[in-house]
């Protein structure tokens, strides 16, 4: 079976495989993004960029929970004006670079999106879901009317595909998904609100106390979110959360995802993960007699 069998598309963006690097993991420095693309990612999402420079939180900003991870980086970013160069470095190799942005208002998102497009980003991902910074992220992303405004405003300003990344930390993710229906695709899910306490120090380990849980622990939560939204909408979905093996990719795709983003598994398996999963996925498709990966999208969902 030719490698071409893994080709995916998200709106107008063509991907050589469904495997994308998730936002916030090894994508602050343009050279790093470029290396991820060279070593097998079909596309990278940049870390989330805001309108002004933000230091983010003081370390500890991660808690290593084995295969899982808790983080509160705190939307540390250089500000959109300083990010042009990273995008151009990353784009050096010609594969898609997706610019992730965060903000507090629809106008701010629209401004950031048009800057990202002008820098050459092949798509823009709206971070409506960071669970640990007040006033941004999931506070924004749990308000359906604000989500709708942001997506409309951004869609009106740019031509490249718009991806809306949603938080699982809501009572009903389907209603948020519907509010974002003008987006070209949804990204499900961001991290889950969580905390770790060091019992010998008697305090939360993260300097911010609160953080977001990622890694295999949240995969069943992400798969469920994708299944739910696929069943209830007609939108394209990118799965995310706890993917570290080809089985995980297929689970997400059978739940309805067209592509996936991988983050925390980079810690556990290193950059080789993209090529390894690609190889294993092709083997699975061959042994199951599946000609084209499109066939399996949503295969497990009773609509």
């Amino acid at each position: 079976m030719p490698k071409g069998s893994l080709i995916s598309d998200i709106g107008s963006m063509q991907l050589e495989s469904p495997l994308i690097l998730a936002s916030g993991i090894l994508d602050e420095n343009g050279y790093t993004m470029r290396r991820m693309l060279e070593e097998g990612a079909a596309a990278v999402v940049t870390k989330s960029i805001g309108s002004t420079e933000r230091a983010g939180f003081t370390p500890p900003v991660v808690v290593d929970l084995g295969d899982n991870l808790l983080n509160a980086i705190g939307l540390s970013n250089p500000g959109i004006e300083h990010f042009k160069e990273e995008i151009s470095i990353a784009k050096g190799i010609g594969k898609p670079v997706i610019g992730s942005i965060f903000g507090a208002t629809a106008e701010e998102f629209a401004y950031l999106a048009s800057r990202m497009q002008s820098y050459g980003a092949d798509a823009v991902e709206l971070n409506l879901s960071c669970p640990h910074v007040k006033g941004f992220g999931s506070e924004v992303g749990s308000d359906p009317s604000l989500v709708e405004d942001i997506v409309s405003e951004v869609k009106a300003k740019i031509n490249v595909p718009v991806l809306a990344k949603l938080t699982p930390n809501v009572t009903d993710i389907v209603s948020i998904a519907k509010a974002a229906e003008k987006a070209d695709a949804l990204v499900l899910i961001n991290t889950v609100k969580a905390m770790h306490i060091d019992i010998y120090a008697r305090m939360p380990t993260l300097s911010n106390a609160y953080g977001g849980l990622s890694g295999p622990a949240i995969k069943p939560i992400g798969v469920r979110a994708v299944y739910d939204v696929y069943r209830e909408t007609e939108m394209d979905i990118i799965g995310c959360g706890g993917i570290s093996r080809f089985e995980d990719v297929l689970e997400y795709m059978m739940a309805g995802a067209r592509a996936v983003e991988i983050g925390t598994a980079l810690k556990t398996y290193g950059r080789a993960i993209f090529d390894n999963i690609k190889r294993d996925t092709i083997r699975f498709l061959e042994s199951e007699g599946i000609e084209n990966i499109e066939e399996i999208i949503g295969a497990a969902v009773k609509k």
């Binding site: 420095n29 870390k47 230091a55 980086i73 540390s76 810690k267």
Partner: protein, 248 residues
Amino acid sequence: MIHAEIIRKEKLTPTVSTLYFHWNADVKPGQFVMVWAPGTGEIPMSLSHIGKEKAFTIKNYGPSSDMLIKLEPGQKIFFRGPYGRPFSAVNGKTLLIGGGSGMASLHPLISRNAFGLIAARTREEILFMDEFESGNVSVTTDDGTFGIRGNVLAGLKDLDVDSFDMIYACGPEVMLYNLYKHLKDKNVNAELSLERLMKCGIGVCDSCSINGFQLCRDGPTFTMDQLRYMNEFGTEKLTFSGTRVSVH
């Protein structure tokens, strides 16, 4: 987090102390841990002693190192690791080049076969000089208060670098970059242990990267060959927020 009790503390210079503790782990020279100063911060720190008794040798820079250096025997220290690619082990004559607190990570490599080239700001900041065999050490100070006045390159002039089976170096990036340029066309084996901002220590946050390699994982030690392809080395880096700035 791992936690241990400080069993001993030694003040080496006005700004540098060593904290000893028991930690039952196999740590190799050049590896580091992320040390937590609860309520203040978390910073990367080499293990300066890697036997049954382990130790950090800490220089007081800012809030976290300051809090750590003030800890006393009986108090707890918190850390996670060990992380990073160690220096590779070789038989034969070695040259250890350390700048400032960079000597901490070289300390486990001190042996009878090791020659030390120690760079310090001033006389009282010289680290571990007495641990080399007599005659096997050379010192430079910025202010000329001891040894050769000048930087590491000044100290190298008198040394026949080709005669060593391996050169290990650790210190500020500018020093290492100058060293790299000095050595790159010579026929030498060298491993440089780099220092950059490290937020996570485990290869996810990208704050420590040079040309897509994570110092915390692919490094902090790199060979001359690896460094050859890194145009960010010695030139540009990202700040705490991710802003690209010049290394100088």
